[in-house]
């Protein structure tokens, strides 16, 4: 090998942010733990306050930590190799998120294809149906559970369809924003990025509307309405939380764009946020197909 000089890798000095973050997570865990423990009782403790304190501390930590990182990046301390580390780290993080959703999709498929039919007597389970719940008939969506709870199906047309169109469009606008950045077209970047954020917020607004509709007396689709309600609300709910997170990321990126950050060659945060955005869009497509349509 010929002698070649290597960029040196930036190893940050000591940082107090991680331990702040650790304390924050601790507060969130004990706060959420005691809050949830008493949720079905008359008692009320300080759990909720601890939880809120923890969340505030996390926000403070993220603000400080990312400020550090952004300042280091703007000061040109990061090499190409560092950029790669961030990119790979983000990709693996998104992969872990995919696996998180896989657990809930797995539950959905297991219920639809195996456990609900078995409860109805499929396979070698004739006696389950006959002895435990003779009135029960297996169907999906499961609108009447074995113990007799009834609910209605959330249709795919209307709000869910509009939301699908909104999110798919936002994926396209996010891509346009990226192209604009690569061409150094700052006004285009601001326009398309702003539009993406707007679409995300409208999506979330409609999602809340849809939940309100589900929880209305007309639909009676609750989280407690058996396996259909459970999978419906947990899948769409966790997706909604991820859209919220993605929107926050995009807003932060937008504020940084306004401050003149990012160039066509140095835009990791922008790209990470847009990867994340495309990821939540893809999850939605699967949700739309398997939770709503089929």
């Amino acid at each position: 090998m010929t002698t070649k000089e290597y960029e040196s890798y930036y190893v940050p000095a000591q940082s107090h942010w991680p331990i702040v973050g650790a304390v924050a997570l601790f507060l969130i865990a004990i706060g959420a733990g005691s809050y949830v423990s008493t949720i079905n009782t008359e008692e009320s403790g300080i759990g909720g306050y601890l939880l809120i304190a923890g969340i505030c501390l996390v926000v403070y930590m993220l603000y400080g930590w990312f400020s550090n990182v952004i300042n280091e990046s703007m000061a040109g301390k990061y090499s190409h190799q560092m950029d790669n580390s961030f990119r790979q780290g983000m990709s693996w993080f998104i992969f872990s998120e995919v696996m998180f959703f896989a657990a809930f999709f797995g539950a959905l498929f297991y219920a639809r294809m195996l456990s609900v039919p078995w409860l109805g007597g499929a396979g070698s389970n004739e006696m389950t149906g006959a002895v435990l719940w003779p009135e029960f008939t297996a169907a999906w969506p499961l609108l009447k559970t074995p113990d007799g709870t009834e609910t209605t199906q959330m249709g795919w047309y209307g709000l869910p369809l509009i939301n699908t169109i909104l999110l798919l469009t936002s994926s396209v606008t996010a891509h346009f924003a990226h192209s604009a950045l690569e061409k150094d077209n700052r006004s285009g970047l601001k326009l398309w990025l702003g539009l993406t954020i707007l679409l995300g917020i409208v999506f979330l607004f409609f999602q809340v509307q849809e939940y309100a509709h589900g929880y209305s007396d007309e639909m009676k689709l609750y989280m407690t309405s058996g396996i259909y309600g459970s999978t419906f609300y947990l899948l769409t709910g966790f997706h909604g939380m991820h859209v919220t997170l993605g929107t926050i990321m995009l807003i932060i990126v937008f504020l940084r764009v306004l401050k003149g950050h990012f160039t066509s060659t140095n835009a990791f945060a922008f790209e990470a946020a847009s990867w994340y955005w495309h990821f939540v869009d893809v999850v939605w497509v699967f949700l739309f197909v398997f939770v709503y349509i089929i």
């Binding site: 000095a13 991680p18 601790f26 696996m99 559970t145 989280m223």
Partner: protein, 535 residues
């Protein structure tokens, strides 16, 4: 490209040993704020040892209760809490953090990197762990007591019939999961991105390979654990019906999702052990590792197979026959790559000039005793016979052979191998051999009779037993206490070694290979600020 001092450390050539201008921060802030992979590795290792002693103390109470039939010391409900927290602590608090500690200390030095790829996140992944275990352990002092549903927290034990600390358990597991995922992302990125020029994937030490694959498994399955504890939480407190047949769910679904995480998890706890042993055996056989490439492929295929064998934990729970057969055959298939590994270790030693320093003794014990655990696993893999063994002490014997004489022994082997590099001092040879022989004898007294107890039908997780199991249980308990006490010898060895002793050379083992031996002992605070060249 630029070579200015971008790092906040002297960018001296690594050969010139920059320990003179090593500015180590001092006091508690050094440990709380650290971004140094060696400091964080040390934290992980100490934390895991404290957890080992904590989990061990719980096991001592379990063995005291089981010393004779009848209920002597603890109530059945408290016994259940002990077995649950013992399992959780040993899996998530002792074995996994110990391996992460090895990864932190050794990976950057083995691949010629200045540090882990994301040093601040590295600190965060460590420091959230003590908080998670503080929550878990504090549940012993809650009104309802600690979780009592077994470390596998099967529904409905963990939903309908759980006690008041379940929410705390769930959030503690979430934090452990976050910690593991961040640690694993750091390991993967470090290995993919930070290798010294010239170190291709197939030139990496096998140790690096096994941690690479383990980290991939962690990123893939820890989120599934997070998912399943979340469903458990909503079932218990928010009225969902994932694991409730009356609402159209299925308690068996819990087991499927849990073991989809759980089976890769057991390989997460053994693949790094393979890496450590594959480093040590060649060093003391003074031969190259036999079949390096086949070791890499075997490790990868074990990892891939681990995703399609989960239901062998559930043969008796109820599954269609096709499922039982599929999971039985896939499980037995794992014996093939594992056999390749054991063969390669033995072939490495074949006609080597062996010497038996303490790391080698632990590695040899690993090869033999892990193989016993592997064989009992093969027996458990067979569906028809599993109907007899399921939930008996045979299972307890099996996984303790794999996890204690497997994973834990490899951790000791690795600790004795690298302790001179970490501390700069040689440890007491005789004391460490006392540790080895006491552990070896007591661990077999502890776990071997459990095979017979299980085959005779003694169920696990029960505080009392029928009279005919009394004799074996007495010996098992004596073995347990002896094994527990033997681990204090290790503590003594380590403390003595840190305090002083014969100065270690840069390479104290003549057969050792790898970049970590090219730096001084103790390893300077910052190593490889400029990457070394690997041919």
């Amino acid at each position: 490209m630029t070579t200015d001092t971008l790092t906040e450390q002297p960018s001296a050539d690594h050969d010139s040993h920059d320990d003179h201008h090593d500015h180590k921060p001092t006091g508690i802030k050094r440990w709380l704020y650290t971004t140094n992979h060696k400091d964080i590795g040390t934290l992980y290792l100490w934390f895991s040892f404290i957890m080992l002693l904590t989990g061990g103390a719980l096991a001592m109470v379990i063995r005291a209760e089981l010393f004779q039939p009848g209920l002597q010391i603890v109530e059945p409900d408290f016994f259940n809490q002990l077995t649950t927290v013992h399992g959780l602590i040993m899996v998530f608090g002792a074995i996994m953090p110990a391996f992460t500690g090895f990864a932190n200390w050794m990976l950057p030095m083995m691949i010629g990197a200045p540090d882990m790829a994301l040093p601040r996140m590295n600190n965060w992944s460590f420091w959230i762990l003590p908080f998670a275990f503080a929550i878990l352990l504090s549940s012993f002092f809650m009104e309802s007591g600690a979780p009592n549903f077994g470390w596998t927290f099967y529904a409905p034990l963990s939903t309908t019939y759980s006690n008041g600390s379940t929410a705390f358990f769930v959030f503690a597991v979430h934090i452990m999961g976050i910690s593991s995922i961040m640690g694993a992302i750091n390991i993967v990125v470090t290995i993919m991105n930070m290798r010294a020029p010239g170190m291709t994937y197939m030139k990496m030490p096998l140790f690096v390979w096994t941690f690479f694959i383990t980290a991939y498994l962690l990123i893939a399955v820890m989120p599934v654990l997070a998912g399943v504890v979340t469903m458990l939480l909503t079932d218990t407190y928010f009225g969902t019906s994932f694991f409730d047949a009356a609402g159209g769910g299925d308690p068996v679904m819990f087991q499927h999702i849990f073991w989809f995480f759980g089976h890769p998890e057991v390989y997460i706890m053994i693949l790094p052990a393979f890496g450590i042993v594959s480093t040590i055996i060649p060093a003391f056989a003074r031969k190259k590792l036999f079949g390096y490439a086949s070791m890499v492929y075997a490790t990868s295929s074990i990892a891939l197979l681990s995703f399609i064998v989960w239901a062998h934990h559930m043969f008796t729970t109820g599954m269609p026959l096709a499922g039982e057969l599929f999971f039985m055959y896939c499980t037995m298939l794992i014996a093939v790559p594992t056999g390749v590994k054991v063969f390669n270790w033995v072939a490495t030693m074949w006609r080597g000039s062996l010497s038996f320093e303490t790391p080698m003794l632990f590695s040899l014990a690993f090869v033999i005793l892990f193989t016993i655990g592997g064989f009992s696993g093969l027996m458990l893999a067979m569906t028809p016979v599993d109907f007899q063994y399921h939930d008996t002490y045979f299972v307890v014997a099996h996984f303790h052979y794999v996890l204690v004489t497997g994973s834990l022994f490899s951790i000791y082997a690795g600790a004795y191998y690298w302790l001179p590099k970490w501390t700069g001092n040689m440890y007491s040879d005789s004391l460490s051999k006392w540790h080895f022989w006491c552990s070896l004898i007591s661990v077999n007294l502890l776990f071997f009779p459990m095979h017979f107890l299980g085959l005779a039908g003694m169920p696990r997780r029960i505080p009392d037993y029928a009279l005919q199991f009394a004799d074996f249980n007495k010996w098992v308990s004596i073995g347990g206490f002896a094994f527990g006490l033997s681990q204090l010898i290790f503590l003594a060895v380590v403390i003595k070694c840190i305090k002083g002793g014969e100065k270690a050379e840069a390479k104290p083992w003549d057969g050792a290979e790898g970049l970590e031996w090219t730096v001084a002992s103790p390893a300077p605070y910052h190593t490889f600020s400029t990457p070394p060249k690997v041919d």
